[in-house]
Amino acid sequence: MTAINLTDMDSGQVINEIVKNGGEGITRCIQCNACASVCPVAQAGFPLYGRLLIKKLQTGHFEEIIEDPSSWACQACNRCTEICPRDARPFEIVFAFRRIQAQELAISASAFTPLMNLYETGHAVYSESSKELRAKVGLPQEPPTSVGSEKAKEEIRTLLDNGPMGDLGIF
């Protein structure tokens, strides 16, 4: 691997973007790795778990990591925020980065399907085969949630269409 030349990286702008999108703790991180020690993303072996993602952003790396799917593996468990000794709130930084990724249409496939499911069926995790299974045990084929309610689905779509997600034009 050749050396990264930090001189041309516009770290200031990257940090500003993250702060604008809700990750204002980014300059407080001291790279202690406490968040990584409890992070399921790190445990699952995703390369850009919270601490390293923050380091890359702090040093102005952006183009290189924008397509990385790691951030989409975040379970929003919030353990990092509870453990961080600097109140950097890494979870918020991960999500700020995710927002920027979404704006750049760099949404991971793993996140895309649930998103489309949500738009169409009202559930992020939904499978057609569940209908049969439900019938077998004597339940109505559709659960009494947004899946079975056209009105609820309509409300969800309205929310998604009119929020920042709608602007991306993916639905």
Partner: protein, 669 residues
């Protein structure tokens, strides 16, 4: 018959965890002339001491052996026990069964117990032969010498002077102030260094009890606590300081340009110069090595009259001086003037130097854009060469990217293994000051690890992070020079796990703090020793932090080890307080454990004279025959002469021949 009491200490589990103290106690009881043997968890505690006192009061013992830790810290405590009960305090002997036994033989309990018994037997044998000794006293000169006029020396001098002592403050430069006077602002509060230091310098300069001897160096130190005789050489300034008003006219007129020490060599100064604008005293000096002797005005040369103009031919400095302080016709002694003083105590506060960038060949030292942090300090100071503007001296342009390199020469087996303690903080300070002033400046700081352990220090570091200063974990390996006077810093970012490069316009080296080589002769003159890191060695790192092995000489500031201003001032005040003790007591004790010549036995061979490391022995005429005599104020009781004398004419009190022989007998029995 002596009545020896033996007291065995458990020292918690320090001794009792290894040595069978009960067995030692029982063994002690069987030794000749031992009347009582007891033991206690902590003999040095109040109840422990009381056991001995009660036995003395009951008339059971008249000589005391304590088998315990070490005489280094505890001998004075037990001697005092004897003293308060009316026994001569030198009838005490310590058996070191901790430092020399339980600590070193922790793995061999049986052997350690056996050794403890032998040590006790030997101590008892000596104790049986102990004789009372008398303390002697000498009067103390109520004056102090402070060497070094940095912030440490200034505070020590002021405190001693405020306590009513006469103080000689000796500084080798023309002005006091030291490195602090070179700093721009100071962490952790970022107050202007000159603003807080100058008033204190002025106080020291005006204090009625302080005799300021700047541009001066200590030539010799003789004597001992209470009565040191010092000779101080005032260097020749070639300018009459009684007349000089510090106007600086001579400096303006002088055509010479040589590197300016005050600006860390970043710019030049004339041969006639004033050290810096806030100098105390504000007096000019002529650097005679750099002086051109303009108009043929060599010092001491007669004044000539110009044939053309009929006016006297004067050097520019002479002509410029409105106060008439420069007269080059005078035959001034280049050696200056010798001042003699007698003082009761000495505070050494000679400070430090930073390693020059030339020591680091891999860091492009020949580039003017690589500079030490002390040079940067001058560059960003309002009184510096650019009046505080951050400019590259190669092109006078503002840099866009700066890299700071920490631990340059520190924590490095090739240079100094210690941490220089202030660099992390001053680098953060400099970075913050620059970022406040130039927000578009990119600042990288390469650290092995960031060390900010003082009060309010970590908060200072965190605030630098919030400003967007980049902290990079990883020591820099080298700097390459790029076209356009740029510098490529080759580093590694441990957090990214990647090699990194930074093309910087300037690189700042936080170079190590060290004791200058030039201090060594001074250390020798005062018989002071240096520690493994090369700084002045204190007597005990924890309990005697300002004392030295030479009684009456104390240490303050960075000459004792790297430290920041808060710690320097605290230590300086500590040193002043410690130095004031003998001055205020008015007399000091002379240890009676020193050597004495038994004149009847002395053959006058003179062997002992050159052997004494303290120069305490000389030959005198007794009944018209040469005989050795010892100056009791100089003798340190080292015993060298005692062992060397072939006539057994020298006796070291407290270690007489019968005492030592009986110890050996006990050990070999």
């Amino acid at each position: 018959m002596a009545k020896v009491g033996v007291y065995v200490c458990h020292c918690g589990s320090n001794i009792a965890g290894v040595v069978d103290v009960q067995a030692v106690e029982e063994f002690a009881r069987t030794l000749p002339e031992v009347t009582v043997a007891r033991r206690n968890l902590f003999m040095c505690s109040d109840p422990g001491q009381e056991i001995i006192r009660q036995d003395i009061r009951d008339g059971l013992v008249d000589k005391v052996v304590v088998a315990a830790c070490t005489p280094r810290t505890h001998e004075p405590i037990f001697r005092r026990v004897l003293e308060v009960e009316g026994l001569n305090k030198y009838l005490f002997e310590m058996a070191n069964i901790r430092d020399q036994d339980s600590w070193v033989h922790a793995h061999d309990k049986k052997g350690a117990t056996q050794k403890a018994k032998q040590i006790v037997a030997s101590a008892v044998a000596k104790a049986r032969n102990l004789a009372p000794l008398e303390d002697k006293y000498v009067d103390v000169e109520k004056a102090a010498l402070v060497i070094g006029g940095g912030v440490a020396g200034i505070f020590s001098a002021l405190d001693l002077a405020n306590m009513g002592n006469k103080v000689y403050l000796v500084e080798k430069e023309p002005s006091i102030g030291g490195v602090m006077a070179q700093l721009d602002k100071t962490f952790p509060t970022n107050d202007c260094s000159a603003c807080i230091l100058t008033p204190v310098m002025v106080d020291a300069g005006n204090h009625p009890n302080i005799e300021l001897l700047t541009y001066a160096e200590v030539e010799s130190v003789d004597g001992y606590i209470g009565n040191f005789d010092v000779k101080i050489r005032k260097k020749q300034s070639y300018i009459d300081w009684n007349k000089c008003t510090g106007c600086g006219a001579c400096a303006e007129a002088c055509p010479v340009r040589v590197p300016n020490e005050y600006n860390a060599g970043l710019d030049n100064r004339p041969a006639a110069y004033i050290h810096f604008p806030q100098a105390v005293p504000k007096k000019a000096v002529i650097d005679i090595d750099a002086c051109l002797n303009c108009a043929g005005r060599k010092i001491g040369r007669e004044l000539k009259i110009s044939k053309k103009t009929g006016k006297p031919l004067l050097a520019p400095c002479e002509r410029a001086c409105p106060a008439g302080a420069i007269d080059r016709s005078l035959n001034l002694d280049p050696k200056g003037e010798l001042v003699e003083a007698r003082v009761g105590a000495i505070v050494v506060a000679t400070g430090f130097k930073v390693m020059e960038k030339e020591c680091f060949k891999n860091l492009a030292p020949d580039s003017p854009n690589v500079m030490t942090a002390l040079q940067l300090e001058r560059l960003i100071s309002a009184t510096g060469p650019t009046e505080g503007k951050l400019l590259r001296l190669t092109d006078m342009r503002k840099p866009k990217t700066i890299s700071f390199l920490s631990c340059v020469g520190s924590r490095d087996e090739n240079h100094h293994t210690y941490c220089s303690r202030v660099c992390c903080m001053y680098m953060i300070k400099q970075a913050k000051l620059l970022k406040e002033k130039y927000q578009d400046l990119e600042i990288y700081m390469h650290f092995m690890d960031v060390r900010t352990p003082g009060k309010d220090f970590d908060e200072y570091y965190t605030s630098a992070l919030a400003m967007g200063i980049h902290i990079i974990r990883g020591r820099v390996g080298g700097i390459d020079k790029l076209p356009g006077d740029r510098l490529r810093v080759q580093g590694y970012d441990a957090d990214l796990s990647s090699n990194i490069e930074i093309d910087a316009d300037m690189v700042i080296l936080a170079s190590a703090i060290e004791l200058p080589e030039t201090i060594k002769p001074l250390a020798q003159k005062m018989s002071l020793t240096l520690d493994g890191s090369g700084f002045f060695k204190e007597l005990h790192p924890k309990l005697k932090p300002v004392e030295t092995a030479v009684e009456g000489i104390f240490l303050a500031g960075c000459c004792q080890g790297p430290k920041d201003i808060p710690d320097t001032v605290a230590q300086a005040k500590g040193a002043a307080a410690a130095a004031a003790v003998p001055l205020s007591q008015g007399r000091v004790k002379i240890e009676p454990i020193i050597s004495e010549i038994i004149t009847d036995r002395c053959s006058g061979c003179g062997i002992c004279v050159p052997l004494c490391p303290y120069g305490a022995i000389s030959m005198d005429s007794v009944h018209e025959k040469p005989r050795a005599v010892i100056d009791i104020t100089q003798c340190k009781g080292c015993g060298v002469c005692t062992t060397a004398c072939s006539s057994s004419a020298i006796q070291l009190h407290g270690y007489t021949e019968d005492q030592i022989m009986s110890q050996i007998q006990a050990l070999t029995a």
